[in-house]
């Protein structure tokens, strides 16, 4: 197994998950806005 590629893959997946969570939080917050 190519270790470097595997570690980079894990990092990218982690970034993807973080991105999705942040996006979900932004959408959620927008939904909470009440004037």
């Amino acid at each position: 197994m190519n270790n470097k590629k595997f570690i980079f893959a894990i990092l990218k997946i982690a970034l993807l998950i973080i991105g999705v969570v942040i996006l979900a939080y932004l959408f959620f917050t927008w939904g909470q806005v009440k004037l």
Binding site: M1, I13, Q32
Partner: protein, 734 residues
């Protein structure tokens, strides 16, 4: 009536039924999209009107551009309709974003998903652990019934065959839909159903409006309309279909990027190849990719030659635009087929004869003289005999000569590569009406069809390059080499350097490295191979060390490429990290599983079958992806032939799909060893082995080494012990 139904393929009925279903969906479910489509057309019309009025009537005040008005559809409060409310929303949004309670609310909200995730994870882990224990037991239960399927496997295979038939039917149906343009039709229906066309139409409408009005105040309403349109689009399909669709589109996108990258690297390599001179030497240690580089460069040159020849033809066609080239093409192709034209020399002779006949007919000047017959009916009186390129006048017959030689190169069926090892080529010459079209796309070749369009390089008879004495006296191929790519592997072994040729004599009656005048060939190559000022000859020589050749041939090479190393195993395709991760997880476990499985089982089990199908299938997919889109970067040090200049570093891209697709055998001299080995009835398994970690005297003697023999001689002289006594002692010891 019945006959008509019978004659029509039943798949058409399915297609029509599906089309009707999609149309019904359009009417009953996706009607909002069509209202939006109507509105967007209206927007384009009014914006266009606004644009024309502003441009030609100075003022467009009386035109109402509907693009700045919201849709008539009701969207509830999915998004604030005016900019002021939006600003207030945004301010509140930023305030909320960094408050604790909002964050906790988010956590609480997402806990619903987390719960599902947790349950799945727990079940997953439980399943995995129990499965592993169960599988471990199953796996370690030996079974010696060779190639016998277990009952579950037999049952599974039956089910699989059944579903395989259904899947095959669907596959056929799908390709039928593709063939009959149904897929295209449905794509358009769904582009409308999912409100994608109105989004594009609105952008066009606003562009027309904006360039005439520079109205930034209504930019927000465009944003609002875009959000509404996206809302219609996304709510058109459930999330899981969107996920599948997104994955499909990502796959299409990443493959396109990969092909673009490969083409980019190929162009980069081509640029490098063009910068090389007539002769190039490639050096590297054993297994250092030098033959691979030589082969790759040869293929690149082969492509360059056809492209350059075509460029010359295009130039001729443009300069003499009234000349009937299609008739000339016909004559040339006939004469090439009949083997009347087979070299530059014969082509030049043919054109010279035509020229001669033309002028004779021209000078006759009688009523029956038709000189134009010898120039394919070209109206030379009307269109002239020459073309002025502002450097000199190009005569018609000069042009014909260059064009015909270029035609010969461009349309040649077979390889230009003349090599001392076989190289596979696959330029596809697509012959239709007039001029064939050559396709050098290395990356879209269907690997299962290689046999259909492959051809191999020409055998290099070294005598064709010997201007002096030849190995075969009066070799019929001597002096026939005019143009082509000469690729020689292990060049040093054939030519040697001054030390290697020390015992040879120039006046020897047989050909040798000193009297064959080989070096004249690359030195004079340009003179026989030039078409339209471009030499069509390259010498690509690969060897381990540049100094292993004589200085003369070394210095003919304008470049010595020394392969220093490589940055290997790269992938031209982006967004492959999920597969990369899965490969990291699966590969080692699968290997360990297979080792155990093959150790304990001679029979075929269901789980073994499934593991090979699912995990093995994935590994195959992963490796095939690397075969298609993988590449190595060779680190090359470029020096001049005298080896005096300090080297320039250069990257050369070796794309697997181009360089590894059965291009050449890395063991091209293998037959020599095989033929000799077959004569013997022994192999490595029959070699005697050492008895312990310290060799005995007899074992050392069996090495037949000069060194050991010398030691034995010394020892013999000293102790006067002869070999016989030694053997006896050994016998006693064993």
């Amino acid at each position: 009536m019945k006959n008509i139904f019978k004659r029509i393929n039943y798949r058409h009925f399915i297609a029509v039924a599906l089309t009707v279903a999609f149309a019904l969906l359009a009417i009953f479910i996706y009607n909002r999209s069509y209202i939006r489509f109507y509105e967007s057309l209206q927007d384009i019309y009014t914006s266009g009107k606004y644009y024309i009025h502003e441009l030609f009537y100075d003022s467009a005040n009386d035109v109402l551009a509907t693009v700045i008005e919201p849709s008539r559809l009701e969207f509830g409060d999915i998004f604030p309709i005016d900019f002021e409310t939006f600003k207030a929303h945004l301010a509140e949004f930023w305030r909320l974003l960094f408050t604790g309670e909002n964050f906790y609310a988010f956590l609480f909200y997402s806990s619903k998903f987390l719960l599902i995730f947790n349950i799945l994870l727990t079940f997953g882990i439980l399943l995995y652990v129990s499965f592993k224990i169960l599988l471990g037991n199953l796996l370690r239960t030996p079974n010696d019934k060779r190639n016998v399927d277990t009952l579950p496997l037999k049952a599974f295979k039956k089910v699989e065959t059944f579903f395989g038939v259904i899947a095959g039917w669907f596959k056929e149906l799908f390709s039928f839909f593709g063939e009959h343009k149904y897929l295209k039709l449905w794509l358009w229906i769904w582009l409308f159903n999912l409100n994608i066309v109105p989004i594009i139409a609105e952008v066009i409408a606003y562009l027309f409006y904006f360039v005439a009005s520079f109205d930034l105040a209504h930019l927000y309403i465009q944003f609002y309309k875009l959000i509404c349109d996206l809302f219609i689009m996304l709510s058109g399909l459930p999330w899981y279909i969107w996920t599948v669709l997104a994955m499909f589109l990502i796959n299409v996108y990443r493959r396109n990027v990969a092909f673009n990258n490969l083409n980019h690297y190929e162009n980069y390599d081509t640029g490098f190849a063009r910068s090389l001179g007539i002769a190039t030497m490639i050096t590297a240690p054993m297994n250092g990719n030098k033959t691979k580089l030589a082969t790759d460069l040869s293929l690149t040159f082969s492509k360059i030659y056809r492209y350059d020849a075509r460029e010359t033809m295009r130039k001729c066609e443009t300069q003499f635009k009234h000349f009937p080239f299609s008739l000339l093409n016909e004559t040339l192709s006939e004469k090439i087929e009949k083997h009347e034209l087979y070299s530059f020399a014969t082509i030049e002779k043919f054109i010279a004869e035509r020229k001669d006949k033309f002028y004779r007919a021209f000078e006759e000047n009688g009523a029956n003289a038709t000189p134009e017959n010898f120039i394919w009916g070209y109206d030379f009186e009307k269109f002239g005999f020459s073309y002025d390129n502002k450097l000199y006048l190009i005569g018609l017959f000069n042009m014909l000569e260059e064009y015909s030689k270029a035609y010969f190169i461009y349309t040649m069926s077979g390889s230009f590569i003349v090599s001392n090892y076989a190289i596979r080529e696959d330029c596809v010459l697509d012959i239709f009406v007039n001029l064939p079209k050559c396709d050098y796309d290395f990356f879209h070749r269907d690997s299962s069809m290689l046999d259909v369009f492959s051809y191999y390089s020409k055998i290099l008879d070294f005598d064709v390059l010997r201007k002096g004495k030849t190995v075969i006296k009066d070799n019929p191929l001597s002096d026939t080499f005019e143009f082509g790519i000469v690729t020689i592997t292990e060049f040093d072994k054939d030519r040697g350097n001054q030390l290697d040729t020390k015992g040879l004599k120039r006046d020897d009656s047989e050909a040798n490295q000193l009297n064959d005048l080989f070096n004249y060939s690359p030195k004079m190559a340009r003179h026989s191979s030039t078409v339209d000022f471009t030499p069509y000859t390259r010498y690509i020589l690969d060897l381990q060390r540049a100094m292993k050749t004589e200085a003369d041939v070394r210095e003919i090479c304008d470049c010595v490429l020394n392969v220093q190393g490589k940055d290997g195993g790269k992938l031209a395709m982006p967004l492959f990290f999920v597969e990369e991760f899965l490969y990291g997880v699966i590969a080692e476990r699968y290997a360990a599983f297979l080792d155990d499985y093959d150790f304990y089982h001679a029979n075929n089990t269901l789980y073994g079958y499934l593991a090979k199908k699912i995990f093995g299938g994935f590994l195959n997919f992963y490796r095939n992806t690397y075969n298609l889109f993988g590449y190595d970067v060779l680190k090359i040090d470029v020096q001049n032939g005298a080896l005096e200049s300090s080297g320039n570093a250069h990257d050369y891209y070796i794309m697997y799909k181009k360089a590894h697709s059965d291009r050449y055998a890395t063991d091209c001299y293998g037959w020599f060893f095989r033929d000799e080995a077959l004569k013997k009835d022994k192999g490595i398994s029959d070699y005697p082995a050492f008895g312990c970690s310290k060799a005995t005297r007899a074992e050392l003697h069996a090495e037949n080494s000069y060194f050991i023999r010398a030691l034995e001689r010394v020892s013999k002289n000293k102790s006067k012990t002869n070999k016989k006594e030694l053997d006896e002692k050994e016998k006693n010891r064993s």
